[in-house]
Subunit: 236 residues, 2 copies
Amino acid sequence: MPKSSKPIAVVLISGGMDSAVCTALAQADGFEIAALHVNYGQRTQQRELAAFQAISDFYGIDLRLATDIGYLAAIGGSSLTDFSVSVSKANLSSREIPNSYVPFRNANILSIAVSWAEVLRASAIYIGAVEEDSSGYPDCRKIFFDAFERMVSVGVKPDTHISIRTPLINLTKADIVRLGSELGTPLHLTWSCYQSEDFACGECDSCVLRLRGFARAGISDTISYKSDVQRLNLPK
Amino acid sequence: MPKSSKPIAVVLISGGMDSAVCTALAQADGFEIAALHVNYGQRTQQRELAAFQAISDFYGIDLRLATDIGYLAAIGGSSLTDFSVSVSKANLSSREIPNSYVPFRNANILSIAVSWAEVLRASAIYIGAVEEDSSGYPDCRKIFFDAFERMVSVGVKPDTHISIRTPLINLTKADIVRLGSELGTPLHLTWSCYQSEDFACGECDSCVLRLRGFARAGISDTISYKSDVQRLNLPK
């Protein structure tokens, strides 16, 4: 149960840098944070769970819930959960939705957040989704989150009021790196790679977006990559 | 994978009679059925899972997925998943939402259905929710399902089109018993009790709604109740 009289926000902490910056913003907004992590049977789930715990430790968060929705792996349809399909190398100029798309993942994750928020009497849910500089996933768009918020308003008890906050939605990865740096966010504790748990591959969409963000922000990324990646010729 | 060229519908089969009647309706509508069951850590989950399998066997359904979202029990907030809270005896005249309400359960369940539907290229999801003659749960109302459908339309790939169908939403339990009887639905294979897995208690909201429905339809319920329940003085 909460330890303070502050309003509570459930913050989705995947372990990636967007979620870490979101945590910093929720704290700055005056909320006590309830940290929610969701394993969905993805390749790198142990590494992401470790990043979730490290970020939660850094922010001194007591309310933590790590859940498991392994059924998304059983359902399949994504290279992140179906290990017979390779994670594609990044192609940021493509207009196709990449095979890393996990069908309707964010609705599954947000629904868990709402269930928990209703029990905790939390008034907000923070999710670090990025529309502008993302991989084109349909459930990372502002239009989706707005529709989700409307659905929540008619799906919970009348005295429950929960806003869905997406403070990074219009930022680029470079903006997020800069903002995280200004806020003292522990970006070195975060994990983005879709493929590997020891050294980031530097080749998947998520790694390339991260590396390009750091490069454009003029800040160096201190997590461990496979050798030579930092010297790759990244798209500008 | 589907065995026919029929369009596919994901049907949520909890094991209760509403979901069995929904299955009959989806079949009558010409769909190949993909049967989805969701355990959510409720008291009677083994009995409901058995009913799901029995109903699926009856309808010859090959596509079956039984998932587990035990995190709803960890989140708590309901007498169905928190075993330290007693399931209330029915009080159908109360305007309060009863303590059996599981926070935002239907959004969690429907999100799983949409993920599966997207992978199967299904065009519809059937859920046997009942608004008129239910316990007042906010996520059993038409307004919620309509908002959910709008959210789905902007949260999946552009070539995915999924309708959320609630064919029982305006029926009473008596209507459902009559309809099930007309359609040859195996109501004797279904389970409704919130409390017990061997003999239905006859006292919880769900049992009382079921018994009243059969009584008003003038049809006898052949599942096993604790002794004397069938002779109880049910609300008319």
